[in-house]
């Protein structure tokens, strides 16, 4: 039997090309892991029934010589990314039985390369949460410890990669939803610069923060998927032409550590020690490490939890029981709206809609929304200064991805603020529209994975990937 956990995209591709195994064998190995573990872990909302037919179509491309790196590679897709003719529901009751009418741009790009869609993965409802416990279809469990959460919101996608149910996966990241579950599950996750990947066909959470990105086992695998899905798309006005990777490859990086940002309460002591040890290893490998300060960084989370609910309260008005999904019965059209939304949205989504409605309401707009969006601009400028290499800035900033390792299921569901604090290190990147990678950097004494977050300047995605590969080499 093929060991999916040991396969990278390139090693699978080589084996498929040489005929060591077929695409069918590869898919059957993933399906066998799913069969063995999915019932307990609740990773997939649906495993597609036509995987082997997809495999045969991909195999034909190896026969006719048109196979590329992603041909025949089984990929898990988050439940908020549309695939034509298949169900997609953002793990919400309000979209139960919704069938996508078109392909998301990322899906069309993967289809063109002959990738295999193995199934759609569980997530926090409408991508709001940090643990996948907000799914209307039950929590996903962490493959490393089934009593713990896999992180969220792309918890199903990260768990699928960690459990060998797919070789890689797509997630979406609004405030850490790719990086935090990647850290909790011991895999690599990347949120690209805001304009890198088209969001056409992604069910919107917060349009000014959302990015689709890869979850994989290695930085190289994440790079392969990112290259395939990025690019300008006329259907998403915020998307840009791919940036040319810088030709000048660095061998040593100037690394900034925002020390004062990592002294707050709630940061796990063992995790912090692992982080400091990691920094020492990078220093020993010849990288330059500096303490830096990014002003206002400590207010990012408050800014995020104003802007995010504000945009969500507006974005989710489209779920009204008229055009798609659930419709509850009522005697007037207004009653239909009220009942449909009351029954269809889960607790956390309702909470954020109310909060967003509040911060946007007359009399509070200046104090909350306007103030937060002003701070957002300032935080962006402060990051740009920190990365201004000509003025003594750094190439990369490092933080832990999360303040704690994976927590227990149920541990934080009673207190929303404690759940929100899980995102403290990841949200600043979405606010500043800059790229970030979470990569594994060891485990705790309880064998729980820990993540190192690499943060780069806007558009420095290829530099970040190069640095990630170098750090993989140093830390292995």
């Amino acid at each position: 039997m093929i060991d999916i956990k040991k396969l990278t995209i390139e090693s699978a591709h080589e084996a498929l090309k040489k005929g060591d195994f077929s695409v069918r064998d590869l898919c059957e190995a993933c399906l066998s892991n799913i069969k063995e573990h999915n019932e307990r872990l609740n990773v997939f909302r649906e495993v597609f029934g036509d995987v082997l037919a997809q495999a045969d179509a991909a195999q034909a491309r190896f026969a006719d010589g048109s196979a590329v790196l992603l041909t025949g590679i089984p990929i898990a897709i988050k439940d908020n990314i549309l695939i034509e003719g298949r169900k997609a529901g953002a793990a919400s009751k309000i979209l139960e039985n919704y069938t996508a009418a078109y392909d998301a741009t990322v899906i069309a790009k993967l289809k063109a390369r002959g990738a295999i869609f193995i199934g759609r993965t569980n997530m926090d409802e409408f991508a709001m949460g940090s643990s996948t416990e907000n799914s209307a279809y039950g929590p996903t469990r962490n493959p490393h410890d089934e009593t713990r959460v896999p992180g969220g919101t792309s918890g199903g996608s990260a768990a699928a990669v960690a459990a060998g149910m797919a070789i890689c996966a797509l997630g979406s990241d609004t405030g850490g939803s790719i990086r935090q579950p990647a850290a909790f599950c011991g895999v690599v996750g990347m949120k690209p610069t805001y304009d890198t990947v088209s969001r056409y066909g992604l069910i919107a959470d917060t349009s000014s923060f959302d990015q689709i990105g890869p979850i994989a086992k290695t930085i190289r695998d994440a790079e392969i998927v990112l290259e395939a899905i990025s690019g300008k798309d006329p259907m998403d006005g915020t998307s840009s032409e791919p940036r040319k990777p810088s030709l000048e490859k660095k061998s040593k990086y100037r690394i900034g550590i925002p020390k004062n940002f990592m002294t707050g309460e709630g940061i796990d002591a063992e995790l912090l020690k692992n982080f400091n040890d990691t920094i020492e290893k990078l220093k020993s490998a010849g990288h330059e490490v500096l303490d830096i300060t990014v002003p206002l960084l400590e207010h990012s989370l408050a800014v995020y939890y104003i802007l995010q609910p504000a945009e969500v309260s507006s974005n989710l008005t489209r779920f009204d029981g008229v055009r798609y999904g659930l419709r509850a019965d009522g005697s007037t059209v207004n009653e239909v709206y009220m009942k449909t939304r009351g029954q269809g949205f889960g607790r956390e989504v309702r909470r954020r809609i109310l909060l967003g409605t509040y911060v946007l309401s007359h009399g509070y707009y200046d104090a909350y929304y306007r103030k937060a969006s002003t701070l957002r601009t300032e935080i962006g400028k402060n990051f740009a200064k920190a990365f201004d290499v000509g003025a003594g800035g750094v190439d990369i900033i490092l933080t832990p991805t999360t303040p704690t390792p994976a927590f227990k299921i149920g541990e934080k569901t009673k207190d929303p603020v404690s759940m929100y604090l899980e995102d403290i290190f990841t949200v600043p990147l979405n606010i500043a529209e800059i790229p970030g990678i979470s990569m594994p950097c060891g485990v705790t004494s309880e064998n729980l994975p820990l993540g190192l977050q690499l943060i780069g300047a806007k558009g420095s995605d290829s530099l970040l990937i190069d640095a990630g590969k170098e750090f993989e080499r140093v830390l292995q």
Partner: protein, 92 residues
């Protein structure tokens, strides 16, 4: 914020709340506002809140699909439809 505010916000957001949940939501929202109110301590000039380097993205105003080619598939998503239209409750 009090219970009246929660009810009013729910009405504005067209969200039917079970009565037993209103108290719990009030407590949650109060605690979240307690956290986000920290931005009041930061001094920043609100006039600095400009759109930044944003630009409009336009496309030519031309039809790119065949009229009606998506009607069937999109209507199939609607809970109720009739004669090529989405059906809703009487509005007036």
């Amino acid at each position: 914020m009090d219970l009246k505010d929660v009810k009013h916000l729910a009405m504005l957001a067209r969200l039917d709340l079970p009565e037993e949940e209103e108290e719990a939501l009030l407590a949650d929202l109060t605690s979240i506002l307690g956290y986000i109110n920290q931005i009041n301590e930061v001094n920043v000039d609100l006039a600095e809140n400009t759109a930044g380097p944003l630009h409009n993205v336009m496309r030519d105003d031309v039809v790119t699909t065949i009229t009606g080619s998506y009607t069937e598939v999109l209507l199939a998503s609607a809970p109720e439809s009739k004669d090529g239209f989405v059906k809703v409750k009487k509005i007036l």
